[in-house]
Symmetry: C2
Subunit: 220 residues, 2 copies
DNA sequence: TATAAAAGTTAGACTAACCTAACAAATAAA
DNA sequence: TTTATTTGTTAGGTTAGTCTAACTTTTATA
């Protein structure tokens, strides 16, 4: 049985492995920073996780989840994203409110609960941020997605997921009435600063920054 | 902010105060036994709770929740019972499965979550065991209820709540197809051993023990 | 390639929540 | 009312998870 804290370390390692796409290893400081603890603390926990065969690592080396470790981490991610979906769809939480509560709910221990929740939500494939929800067997649905900034002027797309999940960005999206599935047409790209003129659904055209376009995943 | 453990102590004290109806104080051993810890541990925690003004107590004296302590304990009970209702009604958990998971869910910290959950469940007044769900303001609905064993032969009633919440009893009820609201008619009381001949809804008469009749609350 | 900077580890300390063993107070029984 | 029993407390110890400060290893740079 994993402690609340151990679970958080595993989840952090999984998240970091997604971030460093090519090489899924993480460093001690990186992990500590992610979790908001000091490197010394992370080192201690790493020893414990290694003892339990959840990570492979040696002194001064890189950290990698073992198969068991990864399986556990995916199970936690699954819970997190199912709960986010529940909060968003059933309890009317807004996009930027779900994460914090799901951070707590993801640690609830009950296999039945997770599976029943999934069924109750009608087996959703993606969470409110557009991130894939792992299946009970650990499979993670993949959706071909590109950054909005990668599209050509004139092309159309649908919002698939957010890359940046900060409150400020999510609230901005909400203000623009953009959610997962919203249709966007790129009208023009301003060469000067990379900003974009876009049409959201059938609204009036508006301009967004390059930073914006780099924070939103879309589906062609 | 209360820790998970502190919350459990407060909840235990509230539960004990319900049990000892006339005098709501509890003793150290009583509390320790209820929580499955040693008396020494309970003493330590008591000092902490007193420090935080959640209980009144002095060395070798009785323990009593303060107003703040009681308010907190009721909030936890509220969450517990709302979650039980959710699990039972929305996720098809059975009567005897809800408690264990609700024990975990009751510690989730989010005022919005509780209130939204209550709304989602349509402001239920009683949980699956028939116990009252405290309102957001701390009020606890009361339902006039008596033990089945207190009724006269010939009288009819509706199941209001269970006194015994053990798995064995709950499973037995399930087998008899008794839930909250089920109609029961008392046909005969056997003087010899206090057992009862009863009719459940419109089924064939059957006999239940005195222990059974002492474990079920009904409404006349 | 020598050295400075960055990354990671060790040692020692703290807190919360638990324990056991020994003791003290309150209550019940003889 | 003395004594035995029950109830409750204290002292000292353990573990998980955290910290700081000092140290070591690796990596990057001059």
């Amino acid at each position: 049985m994993l402690s609340y804290t151990e679970e958080n370390y595993l989840k952090a390692l999984l998240k970091l492995s997604f971030q460093n796409e090519d090489k899924p290893e993480a460093g001690t400081n990186e992990m500590a920073a992610y979790l908001g603890v000091k490197p010394a603390t992370a080192t201690d926990m790493l020893k414990k996780l290694k003892e339990k065969d959840l990570v492979t690592y040696q002194k001064y080396g890189k950290i990698l989840l073992t198969d068991t470790g990864k399986k556990n981490a995916i199970a936690i991610l699954r819970k997190h994203r199912l709960w986010e979906t529940f909060l968003y769809e059933k309890l009317d939480f807004s996009w930027d409110e779900v994460h914090e509560v799901a951070e707590q709910l993801e640690h609830i221990q009950s296999a039945k609960l997770v599976d029943k929740l999934e069924e109750f939500l009608n087996f959703p494939e993606f969470d409110p941020h557009g991130d894939p929800i792992p299946k009970a067997n650990g499979e993670i649905p993949i959706l071909a997605k590109t950054l909005l900034s990668a599209l050509e002027p004139g092309s159309s797309c649908k919002v698939a997921a957010v890359k940046d999940t900060s409150t400020l960005f999510l609230q901005y999206l909400q203000k623009l009435q953009i959610t997962i599935g919203t249709k966007i047409k790129i009208l023009e790209v301003i060469a000067f600063d990379g900003s974009l003129s876009i049409q959201i659904e059938d609204e009036e055209p508006r301009t967004v920054s390059m930073k914006f376009a780099d924070s939103l995943f879309v589906q062609r």
